[in-house]
Amino acid sequence: MKDITLGRYYPGDSIVHRMDARFKFFISIAMMIGIFFLTGVLPFAVYAIFLMVLIILTRIPLKQIFLSLKPILFIIVFAFVINLFSYQGTELWSLGRLTITYEGLYSGLRMAARLSLLIITSSVFLTLTTTPLNVADAMESIMKPLQKIGFPAHEISMMMSIALRFVPNLMEETDKIMKAQSSRGAKYDTGGVVARARGLVSILVPLFVSCFRRAEELAIAMEARCYNGAQGRTKLNVMKAVRPDYIMTGVCLLVLAVVLFLEFVRF
């Protein structure tokens, strides 16, 4: 249980890994908006090549990238199939009332490509190359201006980082409680719905109780170390943009501009 990693962060020391998380956050949002405008083969191809280069830079195995597509594979296939059948035009193949057209095929492929690129983009910039903690810090930094109008940016970020901190503990604890209840004869994988639900209660109740206990003890431990909210607080990890961050951002935005240019100015 000790070697669990949070999210799907893939450790590395590439230029993408080292980038300021706030910049990565902005770049991926800009890129994702851009992708929605793409229709042509050429812009798609150029963008895909750009992503490929980034992936090679990060040294993340392609297998990891494909794994990130897995959760939405069903949606991609579904969108592809719906598109496939719902266009009128040059008939390619037909069976009864179902007709596949060239236009349908093209639109289906476009949709699948768009969704895949969206996910790969966010994976390469955020989930695979940025630790959850950095994401939380970036969020706090981005939300900071909202603090003036009473938005609890610091509190939210503190909550996120504490939650992240305790995930391994809770996983270990869940494992332990399950083993303890199994030793008392509980079964979680067999029996009817009622038996299983009962089994679940025997895990969830102790887990909740333990969460409350931990929360209480942690609150006191935080107070003992003079925690008093965001007021007068300094931070060890200040996010500071350096030149490579600006350069990378420039490069990415340039690529985006080229791709959009290819999209809108057809030759």
């Binding site: 303890a180 030793s183 206990r213 003890e217 003992a224």
Partner: protein, 594 residues
């Protein structure tokens, strides 16, 4: 000299649901001079932890005044300053780490104090160096050992430039070697920086390091003074449910046997106790009484290989965590052993030696990767036998009270029997029987397990396994984290269960408990079997430190005695047995039974 900490007539109450409030601290006054080392002892629930929180500025006294380092508690800015001056280390290592990396956790205090970043970096490096965690700077806290986590807590306090450490049972969840390490660290830091220490503890070995002890009971201080003077009152220690340091306990027993009084205040140190014991024995020709046989055990069970069948057999068992990955970690290698019916079988070894992995094989929670585990004739690697095995081999993890979940004690204890498919009548009988065995009256059956004290919850959890009427009972540190009285109670009924025929497997870090109770002991180190023999043989001549374990405290003292008394038998593990063997060697005449 002006006191560093001063409490004047402090009261503190917790609000309860009923009409009466719980008086946690009741008219406590104390003064602590800067640089002194204070120990606070007392049963669980005696108000020690509340006192610690009051001093650290985490609770406001109901009445009375608390002054720390010239600041008086006001619940505002002064309290904040007091919190900075008094760093507190809590019992549970996990629940006081806030940062997601070691470095960030140390930074938490300075961040709150608004320390500028450049200075903060210096403070973090200094603090981590002082506790020896520099190499772990970027590690995630869950990858640290318990001992390292508590050292991290110390580093987090050091970075706030404190003047006082308050340890609230900070070592009670650590194993003995981590415990020694931690106390050594604190002692050296304190000396270096002229800091004050308030150590709330159950461990007498820690308490003797102090220069002033307070004994608390029901929110009041019943006795305080220099430990030599307070601990000399053995009756008081016993009445307060505290441990008596072994050498003093033996000296008292020798005094009972010889009919001569102990020299007041002389027995505080081992040297003093040895001298006093020898003096009391001089010229004695006849002992007053000896009751029963002196095997040095709670009870001498005889479980011979010939007459007692093997109930659990492990052969050539190996287990590797995360096999075939870079994280691969050999937990057990080629372990062979067997347990006979009716014996109390001890399993000892350092943290990480494979004890827990081994016992999880005993009821099929872990399937053998290679080798074979047979429990009551069932092979644990086969799926069809698991149910029978779970029925007859009950396993209880550390801190089992964390698995309680039902509304009433009765229902919780009945959970296991119900899962086994017992009928209503036999469930009722076994639940009631289990309650009686763990020493809880019938009136507890209808209570909620969550309103009980820590020790009572522990008993309910143990009863939950006993109610399944297992033939083999496997207990992992059943008494960990309890106060001495609570621990004695639990070990007593575990021993009774073994006497009444249940086979008991006891995993423990406490060598004294194991030596006293176990018939045979398995020593694991790095997943390998180092020894499997009786405690008498294990602890008599061997240099056990090469097995990664230490001698029982009582045996250590007996070996020390042997340097004055050649030919002394050191195989006794109770104060009674040790006193008798000392007297029988030293007295001129023979041991005469009355």
């Amino acid at each position: 000299m002006k006191p560093f900490i001063e409490l004047k007539n402090v009261f503190f109450e917790y609000k309860l649901n009923g009409p009466d409030n719980l008086k946690a601290v009741n008219d406590v006054s104390m003064t602590v001079i800067k640089g002194s080392h204070v120990a606070v002892l007392g049963r669980n629930g005696s108000g020690k932890s509340t006192l610690a929180r009051l001093i650290a500025g985490l609770e406001q006294p109901g009445s009375g005044t608390i002054t720390v380092g010239g600041y008086e508690h006001d619940g505002g800015a002064a309290s904040l300053e007091i919190r900075r001056k008094c760093g507190i280390v809590f019992q549970n290592p996990d629940n006081q780490i806030i940062g997601t990396t070691v470095e960030e956790d140390v930074a938490f205090g300075p961040e709150n104090l608004g320390v500028p970043r450049e200075e903060m970096i210096v403070r973090i490096d200094d603090a981590l160096k002082a506790v020896g965690l520099t190499e772990k700077k970027k590690s995630a806290p869950h990858l640290l050992s318990g001992g390292q986590k508590q050292k991290l807590a110390i580093a987090g306090i050091l970075a706030m430039d404190p003047e006082c450490f308050i340890l609230d049972e900070a070592t009670s969840m650590l194993d003995p070697s981590a415990r020694k390490d931690f106390i050594a660290l604190v002692t050296s830091l304190v000396k270096e920086r002229n800091m004050t220490v308030i150590n709330i503890t159950h461990d007498m070995e820690e308490a003797v390091l102090s220069d002033h002890v307070y004994i608390m009971s029901e929110g009041t201080i019943v006795r305080h003074g220099h430990p030599a003077e307070v601990f000399d009152d053995i009756d008081l220690l016993k009445a307060q449910g505290l441990d008596v340091p072994v050498h003093m306990d033996i000296a008292q027993k020798v005094s009972d046997l010889t009919g001569r009084a102990r020299t007041p205040l002389a027995d505080f140190t081992r040297e003093g106790a040895a001298e006093d014991i020898i003096r009391m024995c001089k010229g004695i020709s006849c002992l007053k009484t000896t009751e029963g046989d002196s095997t040095g055990k709670y009870n001498g069970r005889v479980c011979e290989e010939k007459t007692h069948e093997t109930v659990l057999d492990v052969s050539e068992l190996s287990y590797t965590y995360s096999r075939d990955t870079v994280f691969a970690n050999d937990a057990l290698s080629e372990v062979s052993m067997s347990i006979r019916r009716g014996e109390l079988f001890g399993v000892i070894g350092q943290t990480g030696s494979g004890k827990s992995t081994l016992v999880q094989h005993f009821n099929g929670l872990i399937k053998p990767q290679s080798g074979k585990v047979t429990v009551l004739g069932f092979d644990t690697s086969r799926k069809d036998g698991i149910r029978e095995i779970r029925k007859h081999a009950g396993l209880l993890f550390q801190y089992p009270e964390h698995q309680l979940f039902e509304e009433t004690v009765y229902k919780d204890i009945a959970f296991g029997p119900k899962c086994l498919g017992m009928d209503e009548d036999s469930i009722h009988a076994s639940v009631m029987n289990a309650l009686e065995i763990v020493g809880l009256g019938e009136e507890y059956a209808s209570k909620s397990p969550f309103e009980l004290s820590g020790g009572q919850k522990r008993r309910v959890a143990i009863a939950g396994i006993i109610a399944m009427e297992p033939e083999i009972l496997i207990l992992d540190e059943p008494a960990a984290g309890l106060d001495p009285a609570g621990r004695e109670d639990i070990l007593r009924f575990v021993n009774d269960l073994a006497d009444s025929g249940t086979t008991v497997v006891l995993v423990s870090h406490n060598m004294d408990d194991i030596a006293k109770m176990a018939d045979r002991v398995l020593v694991l180190k790095g997943g390998k079997v180092m020894s499997c023999t009786s405690p008498e043989e294990l602890f008599s001549e061997n240099d056990v430190s090469e097995f990664g374990i230490s001698l029982p405290v009582i045996t250590e003292f007996m070996m020390f005695m042997r340097s004055f008394v050649p030919g002394l038998d050191v195989s006794g593990f109770t104060a009674d047995a040790c006193a008798e063997s000392i007297v029988s060697v030293l007295s001129d005449g023979k041991v005469v039974s009355a």
